[in-house]
């Protein structure tokens, strides 16, 4: 692509000599600059920056755990809602001292909401991920519980109850690991 080039040639008048140099400057009409090299560079830079930009900024999920305490806290077994994540990423749940039952990740939210509304603030959620469980699934479960929490707060507020969340990470005992393997 040639850029016309008309603007780069010296006008005929100026070549004649010094005599005419004081003449009024004529407006240059149709003046053109060849933009091709500039466009080349600009596109190069543009593609570079476009490819290197990452649009996703990491976000955080806030977690708090209780301080290390020596004595164990006694809880009412009947109000205990336990969630397990097995080594292969499968989710299980149990109420109180019941046997763990499989639960699909997609059903977790409705289950958590339902149980919390039934027992109000008495329900204690214990989360027991197996040491072999994939971290991605563990975070996913926490995320679903956080989503459920928003709904629980709203529904309890409608009933005039202030929500107190009772949630804890609990370590899985070796016996429980074995039990989960057999399911």
């Amino acid at each position: 692509m040639a850029g016309g080039g008309g603007g780069l040639e010296l006008p005929e008048r100026q070549r004649r000599g010094k005599k005419h140099s004081k003449r009024k400057k004529k407006k240059r009409l149709g003046f053109r600059i060849d933009m091709t090299p500039m466009v080349d560079i600009v596109f190069l830079l543009l593609t570079f920056f476009m490819y290197t930009t990452t649009m996703v900024t990491p976000q955080v999920m806030e977690i708090s755990v209780p301080k290390e305490v020596e004595e164990n806290v006694e809880v009412n077994q009947a109000n205990l809602f336990t969630l397990y994540v097995r080594g292969d990423g499968k989710l299980f749940f149990s109420m109180g001292t019941d046997e763990p039952q499989p639960l699909a990740l997609s059903d977790l939210r409705s289950k958590a909401v339902e149980l919390n509304l039934l027992r109000k603030n008495k329900l204690i959620t214990a989360f027991k991920p197996s040491p072999d469980a994939p971290y991605g699934v563990v975070v996913q479960v926490l995320d679903i519980l956080n989503q459920a929490e928003a709904e629980i707060i709203r529904q309890l507020q409608a009933e005039g109850i202030k929500r107190e969340r009772k949630f804890a990470f609990v370590k899985l005992s070796p016996e429980e690991v074995e039990k989960l393997k057999g399911l």
Binding site: V42, V56, Q59, V60, M61, E62, E68, Y135, G136, L142
Partner: protein, 167 residues
């Protein structure tokens, strides 16, 4: 006799609007570009963060110490990496632990014992420093559980999991 095609000489396209838009995009991408930190530039792993739904809280870039659990791309080994973002604090912590010049990297590959010492020193030098666990979604939960235990031991009971927004 076949017609002879006339060569078009001096063919010109007005590139001005295109250049306008291109410059606009270029400046946008240049200003939004965020360059890798020193620590990220030399790490040999890419963390595939676990997905979570949209959250309003973003990872802060000040006053934070990050415990990364990454899988080495070459060997496939999982290990802990520790970064204190604040440079002054990092230097102070490394001084307190009598680190050799070779150990003074912005991002350290650590074991659980060293992690414990580093977290303790981080707590001493900056009581307001927050902690974040940045783990790969493919690692076993054991790695995170152990890191949480170390944090709890040092009385850091509130911390963050770094996640990525699900698309």
């Amino acid at each position: 006799m076949p017609k002879i095609k006339k060569k078009r000489l001096g063919f010109v396209i007005d590139m001005t609007p295109m250049v306008d838009v291109t410059f606009l995009l270029l400046t946008f991408f240049m200003f939004t570009a965020k360059f890798k930190t020193e620590a990220e530039a030399e790490q040999k792993f890419v963390i595939k963060r676990p997905y979570a739904s949209a959250d309003t809280s973003k990872l802060p870039d000040k006053d934070i110490a990050i415990i990364k659990v990454g899988i080495d791309t070459l060997t496939g080994d999982t290990s802990y990496y520790y970064t204190i973002v604040n440079e002054l604090q990092r230097r102070q912590v490394y001084d307190n632990l009598n680190f050799t010049p070779e150990q003074r990297k912005p991002q350290l590959k650590v074991g659980l014992d060293l992690l414990d010492q580093l977290i303790m020193q981080t707590r001493i030098t900056g009581p307001r420093t927050r902690f974040a666990i940045d783990g790969d979604r493919r690692i076993r939960y054991k790695w995170v559980e152990d890191a949480i235990d170390v944090l709890r031991k040092n009385n850091a009971t509130a911390f963050n999991f770094v996640t990525e927004k699900r698309q």
